[in-house]
């Protein structure tokens, strides 16, 4: 029993030794102010065309050229940002601490419009040609007109008073918004009217204490050849037919991170930081990688034939999608990776907590 040290502190597992079979090359790196900071804000990068956009928690929003990492423009809103950067269709939208969302022009960063929400939005704002959808921590989904930022509709869910920090980012398709809440329910809404299509429960949220009743759906759901994959904290991972809610398969899991897919598998990092690969069709477990347990991993992403996760010490661990063995490792910086990573045209874009943005290729 550790007489002096923090005996009750939970220790992350040590770095596994690996034989690197692939080579990691860093195309470019850039710095984005102070980055998301250590306050567990999940700042995510986003891409629109050949631009990549990011922000830091002090109010800086920057746009870089995706290929060269050249800074195109950067704007300082001088107001703290708490939510990830949404980009698309010429707009770059960030969520301010005061509950406002600000839309800047993707071209030159000039402010297009602002909208005051009724609560704090931490997840990335979703944009499609017609509307912009944002989820706030009080269980509300708000849709605004993309061009003018005027209010279109809102949907309210009953959420428990104790939940995990932040919400998941809703999945915005051309006509349906699918959003998961901290009450364990997944909801589909009509983009036109905000009316309620269907609702299904992914986690039952029962238990004797408030802690055991937490059932957040925080990771982004995933659509793979029109099957919907969604996972919840202290709940289940389910493969669902989005049209008639028929459940293909599902089993108990606890994760609060987005899912990733590749080689016909679904990749998931659970709350003990084990990386699980399941066959998308049957849900059977393909492989499980436990050597990174308790290193506080980020959400997985697939690049080439590997699946990659970041951890709290800033390492990127590349594992083969076939059997989960480690194929490469690269340290971006020591501040750690918390937000979701982004892969476009086989390039991995990572934003570390200290604000270092790196474009990485694996070959």
């Amino acid at each position: 029993c550790g007489f002096w040290g923090k005996s009750d502190e939970v220790k992350p597992s040590p770095l596994p030794d690996i034989v690197s079979e692939n080579r990691v090359t860093v195309l470019w790196t850039a710095s984005v102010g102070d980055g998301p900071g250590k306050r567990f804000h999940e700042m995510t990068v986003s891409v629109d065309g050949d631009r990549i956009f990011s922000a830091d928690h002090r109010g800086l929003v920057a746009s870089f050229d995706r290929r060269t990492g050249q800074r195109v423009w950067s704007v300082n809103l001088k107001e703290p940002i708490v939510g990830g950067v949404g980009a698309g269709h010429g707009h770059v939208i960030v969520n301010l601490r005061s509950g406002e969302i600000v839309s800047l022009s993707a071209e030159n960063g000039s402010e297009l419009w602002r909208y005051q929400l009724t609560s704090e939005a931490t997840a990335q704002v979703q944009i499609n040609p017609a509307i912009v959808v944002v989820q706030t921590v009080n269980g509300r989904i708000t849709a605004l007109d993309r061009v003018t930022g005027t209010h279109r509709w809102t949907y309210d869910a009953q959420v428990p008073s104790l939940s995990l920090r932040g919400t998941g980012a809703p999945l915005l398709t051309s006509d349906v918004t699918i959003a998961g809440f901290s009450n364990g329910k997944l909801v589909a809404l009509n983009n036109e009217s905000g009316l309620f299509f269907w609702e299904t429960r992914i986690a039952d949220g029962t238990g004797r204490s408030e802690l055991e009743r937490m059932a957040d759906i925080k990771g982004r759901p995933l659509i793979l050849n029109n099957t919907l994959y969604v996972a919840a904290y202290q709940g289940q991972i389910r493969s669902i037919n989005p049209f008639n809610l028929q459940v293909f398969w599902g089993h108990d899991v606890s994760t609060y991170r987005s899912l990733a897919t590749g080689f016909g598998n679904i990749y998931l990092v659970n709350d003990r930081d084990a990386v699980l690969a399941m066959d998308a069709a049957s849900g059977a477990s393909v492989w499980t990688q436990r050597d990174l347990s308790l290193r506080r991993l980020s959400a997985p992403a697939t690049i080439g034939n590997a699946v990659v996760v970041g951890d709290a010490e800033g390492y990127l661990h590349f594992m083969s999608q076939v059997d989960g063995r480690f194929v490469a490792r690269h340290k971006v910086d020591s501040s750690g990776v918390t937000g979701d990573m982004l892969v476009r045209d086989n390039v991995l874009y990572v934003l570390t907590n200290a604000g270092r943005l790196a474009a990485i290729q694996l070959n």
Partner: protein, 761 residues
Amino acid sequence: DNVFVVNDIRVEGLQQVDAGNVFRNFPISTGDQVDGPALAAATRQLFRSGFFEDVQLVRENDVLVLVLRERPAVAIIRIEGNKAIKEEQLREGLKQSGLQEGDIFRRATLDQIELDLMRVYTTQGRYGADITTEVENLPGNRVALNINITEGRVASISHINIVGNTVFTDKELTDLFTLQLPNFWSFYTKSDQYSREKLSGDLERLRSYYLDRGYINFSIDSTQVSLSPDKQDVFITVDISEGEQFKVADVVFVGNLVVSEDVLQSKLSMTEDDVFSRREMTDSQERLVRLLGDQGYMFANVSPIPEVNDDNTVSIRYFIEPGKQTYVRRIGIRGNTRTADEVIRREVEQMEAGVVSSAAIERSQTRIERTGYFRSVNVETRPVAGTDDQIDLEFIVEEQQSGQLSASVGFSQSEGIILQLGVSQENFLGSGKSVAFNVSNSSTLTEYSFNYLDPFFTVDGVSRGFNVFYREENFDEDDRGDYNTDSFGGGITFGYPIDDFQRLSFSGDVEFLRLKNNLALQGTEVFDVINRFTQDNGDEYLNWKLTAGWSDNRLNRGFFPTKGRSQGASLEVSIPGSDLDYYRAQYNNRFYWPINSDETWIASLRSRVGYADSYGDKDYPFFKNYFAGGLTSVRGFEANSLGPRYSRGNVSSAQRSMGGNVLVSGSAELIFPMPFLKDKTAWRPLVFMDAGNVFTTKCLKGATQNTCKEGVDFGDLRYSAGVGLSWLTPVGPLSISLSKALNSKSGDETEVFQFALGQSF
């Protein structure tokens, strides 16, 4: 089915439980006629007693056999791994959920334990805690419960965000919260540790902040508490909608107004077109209830009903229900094991069998506290059963030793036997009378004195007292000049209240005094000056003195006052025909201002001025001078060492102050709560700054060395600063002070450490 008469009962399987317990819970006894259902019911009842895991009834022709398997009793409960929460607290939690050593062990209570202990930890914000219990069997059907706990770190708050505030800034609002982001002081204040009660308290403060500034439609739409995945950081988001600011349209009184409307109106602190404030509304409500209480309506009920109009104004209706005129039936006094009942009851202004007045009850409590005999005084009112207009009062006091007992017997070569016995008791034997007698005989002082004061000679508080003394003082020892005085005399004194706070007092004294010069100091200035005085005024004096005094005491407590002020003045005159004709006047005051709401930080100011002179042709007697310095006047300087000096030897530094006829002294103090101690009531630590000195308008004739400076010169005021502590010991108040003289001049005698028993700041 088989009905039979039980002619004997046998019990099998008993280890721990006593047979008596079995039969007490088993309804069937020998000689009863029983059948199937009766047996089943009896079994169920025995099972419900909880002693047994399994109960079976076997019939051996007419003998009923009870085959019992006892439930194990819990012999020992071991708790391991708890650091932040002490074992007794955990055991108390277990006792509440029905489990302590010696009880019967049931499987169900096991997970009840884990739930209760987990709840203890989650309420303290330790969401990461983890509790496992194992059951270990012991011989003799007993079990041991081993509970091991990993407490984990307390979740600390890393994000408080209020959304929707436009009128007040985020900082202005989050400063109201007891929950704060971690800062330098968090290790001590623990303000960064989340707990549900603290949050609901903070939200209430936020709501009151808005409601007290006119935002009557303010509402907290939703509060989101969320945890980081590792459960170590707490994020709080509060969504509010402020609404408009409202002003007061009008105030109306409705119902049975037993008091005139303008008296009611005078109690309001919020009237037409003021900004609406909920606190002002509730404060006014309390004042109205007190007003009705003063008129004898103890069960009065005043309910303010604000009606929101649509032009951003509010009209307030105070609905008044006075209830019945209330009377006090009996007044009980508890806790006075030493003080007589009458000593407390005479301070109570509320009469039995009289109309009740909450103001009188409050004044009574302050008066009892002001006696200084009690550490705490509380009053409870209880309605009398069977009546709706009578109450009983009960004053509960906690006694405190007031006064001091000092006795010492010593021997030193130079002074021979030193005997000193002194008793001064404020509340002598609980009689409320203050008695003090002092017998001491040492080289510096031989004294036999007795004084006595009965504060309630008459029932209205006319006090009467007297003192007699015989004293031989050699001032040389305690630095007050180089002469001796032998004196004896006595006097009586009267005092009486002229209102709740002010008292007048008159006393008449006679005193015979003989002055002896100190021959050892012949040839020094001191000797010449005293000699010259005895030549001009003689060395034996018979004085008749009259003293008039006035005091105005509005302090809230006798011991360690925290609020209020007290002042007093007195004039002592020797009547013509006495050998000396002089007068001494002095004025003193004390102020206490509580700084924070729970009155643990208090600023206090105190000052004293005195002037004395002779009015006839005789000189003013130097042995009646004022002195300064010491624990009760200017701390940091030796007692009585300040003031104009006369040299007492050819060496220039050997000077001695003889006091002066003008005294100016004052002190500013900051009282703070005693750190680290739970029971702070008995301690009063403070930092202080003192200033003061004595001056003389006429130096004694015959002074040659011009060390004595005539006239009052405020530049000569001495300053000191330091820290002091008063402690209410079981024997009486003890005070100590550590002080630094700030502007001591050559010849001043400074003293860093000073203490006294029986004297409290």
